[in-house]
Amino acid sequence: MTTTTGLGRVPLSLTPLNRKDYTSDQEVRWCPGCGDFAILAAFQGLMPTLGIKRENTVIVSGIGCSSRFPYYMDVYGMHSIHGRAPAIATGVAIAREDLNVWVVSGDGDALSIGGNHLIHALRRNVNITIMLFNNRIYGLTKGQYSPTSEAGKVTKSTPTGSIDTPFNPLSVALGAEASFVARTVDSDRQHLSEVLTAAVAHRGASLVEIYQNCPIFNDGAFDEVKGAEPGVIPLVHGQPIVFGDKCVVRDADGDLRVADLAEVGVEAAIVHDAHRPDPSLAFALSRLTDQGKIRQAPIGIFRDVDRPAYDDLVRSQVSVPDDRAAALQALLTGPETWTVA
């Protein structure tokens, strides 16, 4: 098997396409100010840059505000049912190597009802790119807490505060053998585009968590990390992990820690290596994310390693006979027959 990029077998467009080509005629129906708009805009801008035929892109979503995404893209799209998009997309990707397959999901869709399909798609390394719109809330059902909501969150279903420890979506993914794991934010179009470009180039399952603001039910959930510079810890492959006047170092006991640059010096900072076979460092980096109100969170590509894509492996075991009818006849006849005259 020759490894190729995520889009390696998708036909190229003969004519250049632009954002308008990728924009459907449907009215976009998110709340004013919703972070989903920015992600959509970035995505519509990104797609033409991939150079592939428009008709070869498929977007499968689940249910949630975020899952309305496919309607607004003029490609093939399926707005499926709650939590099942990774399973459906797996079928699409196995069946067709010439498609650019995306999954759009929310924190509830992907991590609550759909958690199992997500982790299995990741471990199998199906060649799909998953965008997880994490607004830390159930938007569509009008504001219940989600598996990524911070403990203590007061919502419609938790008037006295939620008591669940939230998932860290990236830790979950890394625990599930994911080969490409990244995080970005709705408001940073450039970063979003870069990360998604890398994700789609990765052959295998890519999970991209996108911090997404829901102004209606969880406004400002990421303001601190998005706004003030020192909130985000940008991960850049081959670069020391520094941000503002801080950096990430490994403590004597082996744990990672944020330190003052001035105190420890840039040499002490860990150099990010997204391609390490062992996911342990990526996992440790994922733990630098706040569990409660998010004030500090690494963004960028945590892990990007080569591993055969599941669908490629499936196809490598399967061959289609030249004459299907004849092959079928042989099958129907089977190894042992007798004749009645």
Binding site: S24, Q26, K53, R54, E55, N56, T57, V58, V60, I63, P70, Y71, D74, V75, Y76, G77, M78, H79, S80, I81, R84, A87, I88, A89, T90, G91, V92, A93, I94, A95, R96, D98, L99, N116, H117, H120, V314, Q317, V318, S319, V320, P321, R324, A325, A326, A327, L328, Q329, L331, L332, T333, G334, E336, T337, W338, T339, V340, A341
Partner: protein
């Protein structure tokens, strides 16, 4: 010399410990039956446990084959010959031996310890309790071991050849040629010559013992059945489904995709299809049944024939996604190999109690065509038909089989690919709307919508589970549109009735007043019972349904033309319920929910009573 007696029909059961190779023995004997040209039907019976401790009642595994010189419909209820390799096998199978039947037991295994273990307080071979049967107590193990001494096998391997010894004996008993088995052994053990030679020796010893020992007063011979001429093979229901799925895909010129999660008794379809990779078949073992149907739906969307196979509990889990498939109007074949429920129930036992779930188990108005196989062979045809309906009507289709059909085998006239129905995909490649637009829900005369597969330029569009506007497929909350779409989806499924054959009543006299209606695997027992009833000079009509939704167009008329309608089912009356609702006919349920096929003996008796009552 022993006399050879011609008989019409015989049922033989090989029973022993799970480790005794009874399935293999039965398979071999069946293959010989096929060579003779008799019709046959088989029924394996595995223990519920993977490997119960040797010699226990729970560990008994058996294989039954009935063969006849006419066309038979079931593997038989009572057996004429029981081969019992140990006390447990005797004990648990004796109740199914016909009065006066023949027993061949391995007396070598009837030690005190083994007897006590299964609750015998005295040795049945000796205590006279079997006096109403023809008992042949032979030290099969001892004889086999003796026969294989020259080949230097260890004790365990040597005694394992006892099944071949027994097979040799039975082969002789039914006047069969030993050749088939000898060839089989040569192939099977080609790489282990000492095992080959030992098994051959044991088999020959058994055969020769029959010939020389003169213990048996008669040998039997069952002649060939007047089957339609042609090439035949043996097939089980699960294998036939696997072949049917492949054939459906080939006929539709689509790749075949199976998404599945293992579950008894459906797993073998997955196993079988996973050996067809060189036929372009993709099998995907999923994390659960929801992913199985989800991936199949994704594959269908992407232009494959998406299929999934499961049993009752798995079908329950697929219901939400089936509802989505109804909305998306995509082809999908869902096979449910039913087992005894509810809940985990009795996974290794058969039942027909998923019919209502298949018909009505979804929220909202979500009609789906439902077909049911009537025999192992029919599992093939029904699956091909399901694929045709799924593809041409753009709809999920449910195929019902059951544990009885799944593992039972019978001869199948090898289908010729040329005779298989054509399946038209008719994928959309051009715009069909104003201004070069694509209307994904603009229906054809059948009510089917156009399918544009991803990758088709210019037809990019979005579909989903939210109600869609007619023609455009855009999201719509319009009340009138919803009512319209609900009815359109229903009408499309109802309309399939126009394309399925009318049912044909089996009523040789044309004068019956009582109609028996069957569906699924009850075809065998019910048609068998009808025959028996007719043999007494009584008149009974039989209609068998392979199409449960929609029903054949002429069904209502037929039902109404009889004085009495009886519906035997392995459930509490599910088909009867639907017939009553649809046709307002007082269809009477005949319910037997035992995890076993309906008994021909019991049913024919009950039908005769009903007839006598009707006449009175």
């Amino acid at each position: 010399m022993t006399q050879v007696q011609k008989v019409e029909r015989v049922a033989v059961r090989f029973a022993g410990d799970s480790g005794d190779g009874m399935q293999l023995t039965g398979d071999r004997f069946t293959a010989d039956t096929a060579v003779v040209g008799s019709d046959f039907a088989t029924l394996p019976n595995y223990p519920a446990e993977i490997r119960a401790p040797a010699g226990t009642l729970n560990g008994v595994s058996s294989f039954q084959v009935q063969f006849a010189d006419y066309d038979i419909r079931t593997p038989g209820e009572l057996v004429d010959v029981l081969v019992a390799m140990n006390p447990a096998a005797l004990k648990s199978n004796l109740k199914d031996l016909a009065p006066g039947g023949t027993i061949i037991v391995d007396s070598g295994d009837f030690t005190n310890r083994n007897l006590t273990r299964v609750g015998y307080t005295s040795n049945p071979i000796e205590d006279g309790s079997l006096s109403s049967y023809a008992v042949h107590a032979l030290d099969l193990t001892g004889a086999a071991v003796a026969a294989v001494t020259p080949f230097g096998l260890n004790r365990k391997d040597a005694s394992r050849t006892k099944n071949m010894y027994a097979l040799g004996l039975v082969t002789w008993l039914f006047s069969r040629s030993p050749e088939g088995t000898l060839e089989f052994l040569a192939t099977k053990f080609a790489k282990k010559p000492h095992l080959r030679d030992a098994n051959v020796a044991a088999f020959n010893a058994g055969y020769n013992f029959g010939e020389t020992a003169e213990l048996f007063a008669v040998r039997y011979e069952v002649g060939p059945a007047p089957l339609p001429p042609g090439t035949y093979r043996q097939i089980s229901g699960n294998k036939a489904i696997a072949l049917g799925l492949v054939a459906g895909a080939v006929q539709a010129k689509l790749p075949l995709f199976l998404g599945a999660y293992p579950i008894t008794p459906a797993s073998d379809v997955l196993h079988e299809l996973s050996t067809f990779k060189n036929q372009g078949v993709i099998t995907f073992q999923c994390e659960d049944e929801i992913a199985a149907i989800g991936s199949a739906l994704g594959a269908s969307y992407a232009g494959s024939l998406g299929t999934t196979v499961t049993s009752g509990p798995g079908l329950a889990l697929k219901m939400e996604t089936l509802g989505l498939a109804v909305m998306l109007e995509l082809p999908l074949v869902v096979v449910d190999v039913q087992r005894a429920g509810p809940s985990t129930g009795m996974p290794t036992k058969t039942e027909q109690a998923d019919l209502l779930q298949a018909l009505y188990g979804r929220h909202g108005e979500a009609p789906i065509p439902v077909l049911a196989a009537q025999s192992p062979t029919d599992c093939f045809a029904i699956t091909v038909e399901a694929a045709k309906i799924a593809v041409e009507y753009r709809t999920p289709v449910i195929v019902l089989s059951d544990g009885y059909l799944a593992n039972g085998a019978e001869p199948m006239l090898v289908p010729s690919v040329e005779d298989l129905p054509a399946i038209e995909t008719n994928f959309a490649t051009e715009p069909n709307g104003p201004d070069g637009t694509f209307l994904p829900y603009l229906r054809d005369a059948k009510g089917a919508r156009p399918l544009a597969v991803p990758g088709t330029p210019g037809l990019e569009h979005r579909i989903g589970g939210i109600e869609k506007a007619d023609r455009t497929g855009n999201i719509s909350y319009d009340p009138a549109n919803h009512d319209w779409m609900v009815r359109q989806r229903q009408a499309k499924i109802d309309g399939i009735a126009a394309h399925i054959p009318d049912v044909v009543v089996d009523d040789p006299s044309g004068e019956a007043r009582l109609l028996v209606v069957s569906w699924g695997s009850s075809f065998g027992p019910v048609s068998g019972a009808a025959r028996r009833v007719r043999r007494t000079g009584r008149k009974v009509a039989h209609v068998h349904l392979r199409h449960l939704n929609p029903f054949p167009a002429n069904l209502g008329e037929i039902l109404k033309s009889y004085d009495k309608v009886i519906v035997p089912e392995m459930n509490l009356g599910q088909l009867a319920f639907v017939l009553r609702a649809k046709y307002l006919v007082d269809a009477e349920s005949y319910a037997r929910v035992r995890g076993l096929p309906i008994s021909i003996t019991e049913l024919s008796g009950d039908l005769m009573d009903a007839l006598d009552h009707l006449e009175a």
